[in-house]
Amino acid sequence: MAEEQKTGTVSGVNGNMITVVFDTQVVQNEVAYVLTGDMRLKSEVIRVRDRVADLQVYEQSGGIRVGDKVEFTDELLSVQLGPGLLTKVYDGLQNPLAELAEESGFFLQRGLYFPPLDMETKWEFTPTAEVGAELRAGETLGTVPEGIFEHRIMLPFGWSGKWRVTEIAEKKEFSLKEHVATVEQNGEQRQVFMVQSWPVRVPISNYSKKMLPSETLVTQQRIVDTFFPVAKGGTFCTPGPFGAGKTVLQHALSQFSQVDVVVVAACGERAGEVVEILREYPELEDPRTGRSLMDRTIIICNTSSMPVAAREASIYTSVTLAEYYRQMGLNVLLLADSTSRWAQALREMSGRLEEIPGEEAFPAYLESLIAGFYERAGLVRLYDGSTGSVTIGGAVSPAGGNFEEPVTQATLKVVGGFLGLSRDRANARRFPAIDPLESWSKYPPIVERKKVRQASDILRRGNEINQMMKVVGEEGTPISDFVVHLKGELLDSVYLQQNTFDKVDGATSAERQQYCFEKIIQILHQEFQFENKDQARRFFNQLRQLLIDWNYEEFESDNFQQSEEKINQMLNGQES
């Protein structure tokens, strides 16, 4: 490969798209470097016409001249997979940002690339395969400990057929530069390293089958787990206008979800939001493991002011890393914030390519790309019988908060859960601002479905009565209806709303949800007798107060029980 460098010459520049006349041949989507001044700028072939290739440059293109030389690499845009990915912060092209900062200070210097994994670090390899074993791509040769996980060293995913192990290292420390096994197929010998590379736009599919997601992924957000649940291996989207709390919700999900690995893809959003994760997660403890939250997190961060082409790639980079950890039998949650920015990156490039635009100038292939992305989620059975999952949650930022736009619509077609955020709820400070009347989920909740339906029913009727009251007035509303309205409001304010920033209320375990939801259902079913509406309102205000206090008490603590006792007294007092 290295014997003959394929080259080309720049013949045009338009924003971050350049046209290159190539000398021999090119491969669609291969990586190339533009040599301009003393810099090598990474770019990717995105269209070929005759002897001319269009390349998107993953950097600002200022300073590029017609006549600059271009080197083609023959390799598709790929990521490095191996131990050491967890806790890392990468840009969209898997450059480690911390290392970049050490080299270039405050600013991201153009043309500066670093290896994503430290090649010197030693990892203790424990073989699990034996000499003579016949392995398929994706099957495990051995493991190394990475944080709390056994990181599987697998036969590279792209090698087809069966390979026989001819040599395997003993339990010992190795760096990523050293090979740990040798395998053979039809006389061809290959060495296996602990790191492998994989093209980001191709799904990793080295498993025996994809299964139906059925187990609930507990996020500890009451409105999600009880009303609009997410399943391990499922997909969901959280569209919402700005200011509706998309990012706060995504942070809560990444922090409190009960999964093994979280990949956060900050795609074209504010840098400040990533910084919060960056600085806070190392300090926060993951209650499941007792270790820092960062130990289970990978951050792919291509924020809005970073180059647009790399933003487009960042979505694929992050889903590839998620799939890699799924291969180890782990449950991975990928949170992409926001897929609309990714779609916009596609739109910018499509515009430069002068393609015929679809709706709102998005390219016509937008839908299939969105579908392709979400389809990379899933619960799979691996070759060794264990299961792993990738759950994808995509934030969508619809223009004007209008869900009718192309990105939201294309997303809704392919996801299993829709957590629609509403500006009205956000304005009324009802957080999380997931609209309980609009949202839906196809996955099983952690409580009885029947009861959820009953609760939703009261919510819906309460809302209808409220609308009606706006027309006919409170005096024209029968007290029985009025109480239904109050019940709906109560359910909303003490169960659906949740204070993410509170230590206790921020995360509600599945057990607590099941327990508290019973109480709520009991209240919703209870018949109340009131003299007049003011009395009813007063009663529910007080009850709300008690329930809110209850929410802030540690589950099953003394205070929790005392609070509950007060609630019971109040309910019993009413009954008599």
């Binding site: 013949s11 045009g12 520049v13 338009n14 924003g15 046209t19 200022g62 300073g63 590029i64 001249r65 017609v66 006549g67 940002l97 911390a98 970049l100 200070g105 405050f106 600013f107 991201l108 200011g243 074209g268 959003e269 504010r270 840098a271 400040g272 990533v274 910084v275 960056l278 806070e280 961060c301 924020t303 809005s304 002011s305 970073m306 647009v308 920015r341 739109r347 910018e348 515009g351 709102e360 100038a361 998005f362 223009a399 004007g400 209008n402 500006r423 304005n427 400070r429 706006k470 027309v471 007035g473 409170e474 005096e475 304010s493 920033f501 003011d534 309102r537 007063r538 107060q545 809110i548």
Partner: protein, 449 residues
């Protein structure tokens, strides 16, 4: 490279093209027609053909105008002498002062490495309860004021700038009325802030391309100060003019428009400017306050819409007030837990009650009978608007919080406001509270401030 090109092939909008070789993308050229000299920037290369955007516009450019390529990108001076000066969008002095050509720095510098940012933690006090209490402004925040035409947004901007404790004030004016420019200059001068300010001003009558340069010029200077340890406040008004300039250029360049004529990269363009707001680890900071006028008062218009997704919140200025709904400071959570323990609950509950008040107003306007609760809300809403929302109110945060409790106690019983009991015990004004039990007569009126 200093060869002069004579034959201009195409003139269209503000864009001209010439044939030239070995020209670098985004670098500058000088276009000379008779005595007129204007800068221009390379915005597209196609084989030999070089497309240039002429800063002063293409009016008067002849097919044999001279084009001389300078071989460097757009730069701005970072000289110490820049303080107190006023420039145009292309960096020439707008005041009587001399040209500054020393220590030139590039504009439109690369993005800050997210790994080198820190979580902002300093509140900027403004003396406006609607900001300090409900949506605290934080150092290094980027926050636009969404406003309809005719609202006093520039006055608000100037007032915040004068009260904020910062080292340097940068003002970038785009499409400003000449009066507004004079207003800013005079305000700075009056308050003695001119000596720590720099202004880049594009007025409505200046060439449109210069409008595009204003944010980059302003932010490049700001960044230079911030890296050297200064706390900089950048005021950008009005970003909608900037976006309209983008639209104009994009359409001239025959780009496919995405939404109401704006180019598809509007989001990225805005983001690359707003994201300059930063708190550097071990150095200074940049805080950006901007104005985005909403055409037709429509927040779903592409400019405010894209802006809202980029910035860390927004202030809505309507009817001479900062509207509590929709206004949001996303960073307030970082600072409002360090002020007083009642800050957050007061913030949430007063807004929630005010929302109820608005609903009641609606009911009343439809002619419904007001019940006891409605009466309380009506009273509360009136007091809230008078004590908190009026832009003339100028009190510090602590006074404003006390005022909040007072207002609640005057209107409601402690069990009605939905606050946690321990807070009620601590802060509920004893003398102003209503009787413990829920009797029908309200006696909150006896309280005066």
């Amino acid at each position: 490279m200093k060869k002069i090109h004579h034959r201009i092939i195409e003139i269209s909008g503000n864009v001209i093209s010439v044939d030239a070789e070995n020209i670098a993308y985004n670098t500058l050229a000088e276009v000379t027609t008779g005595d007129q000299v204007s800068l221009a920037q390379v915005i597209r290369l196609e084989g030999k053909r070089v497309y240039l955007q002429v800063f002063a516009g293409s009016r008067g450019i002849s097919t044999d105008s001279q084009v001389r390529f300078l071989g460097k990108p757009m730069q701005v001076t970072s000289s110490e002498n820049i303080l107190g000066r006023v420039f145009t969008g292309s960096g020439t002095p707008r005041d009587q002062g001399p040209h500054l050509r020393e220590s030139m720095i590039d504009i439109g510098t690369p993005s800050v490495n997210p790994a080198r940012r820190i979580i902002p933690s300093n509140m900027i006090r403004t003396g406006l309860p609607m900001i300090d209490v409900f949506n605290s402004l934080v150092e290094s925040q980027k926050l636009p004021i969404f406003s309809s035409a005719g609202e006093p947004y520039n006055e608000l901007l100037a007032r915040i700038a004068m009260q904020a404790e910062v080292d340097i004030i940068m003002i970038g004016g785009m499409g400003l009325k000449h009066d507004d420019y004079i207003f800013f200059r005079d305000t700075l001068e009056e308050k003695g802030a001119l000596t720590r300010s720099v202004m880049f001003i594009h007025t409505a009558s200046d060439p449109v391309v210069e409008c595009l340069l204003v944010p980059d010029m302003t932010l490049a200077v700001a960044e230079n100060y911030a890296v050297n340890g200064k706390r900089v406040l950048v005021l950008l008004t009005d970003m909608t003019s900037f976006c309209d300039a983008l639209k104009e250029i994009a359409i001239t360049m025959e780009q496919i428009p995405s939404n109401r004529g704006y180019p598809g990269d509007l989001y990225s363009q805005l983001a690359s400017r707003y994201e300059k707001a930063v708190d550097f680890e071990g150095a200074g900071s940049i805080t950006i306050l901007s104005v985005t006028t909403m055409p037709g008062d429509d927040v779903t218009h592409p400019v405010p819409d894209n802006t809202g997704y980029i910035t860390e919140g927004q202030f809505y200025l309507t009817n001479q007030r900062i509207d509590p709904f929709g206004s949001l400071s996303r960073l307030k959570q970082l600072v409002n837990d360090k002020t007083r323990p009642d800050h957050r609950p007061i913030m949430d509950n007063m807004i929630r009650l005010y929302a109820d008040y608005r609903e009641t107003l609606e009911k009343r306007s439809m002619g419904f009978r007001m019940n006891e609760w409605d009466q309380k809300l009506l009273r509360y809403g009136g007091l809230f608007e008078e004590r908190m929302m009026d832009l003339d109110v100028n009190i510090n945060l602590e006074e404003a919080l006390d005022q909040g409790w007072q207002t609640l106690a005057e209107c409601f019983e402690s069990s009605e406001v939905g606050l946690k009991s321990d807070l009620i015990n601590n802060y509920w004004p004893q003398n102003g509270s209503n009787s413990q039990n829920s009797d029908d007569q309200t006696n909150g009126q006896d309280q005066t401030d």
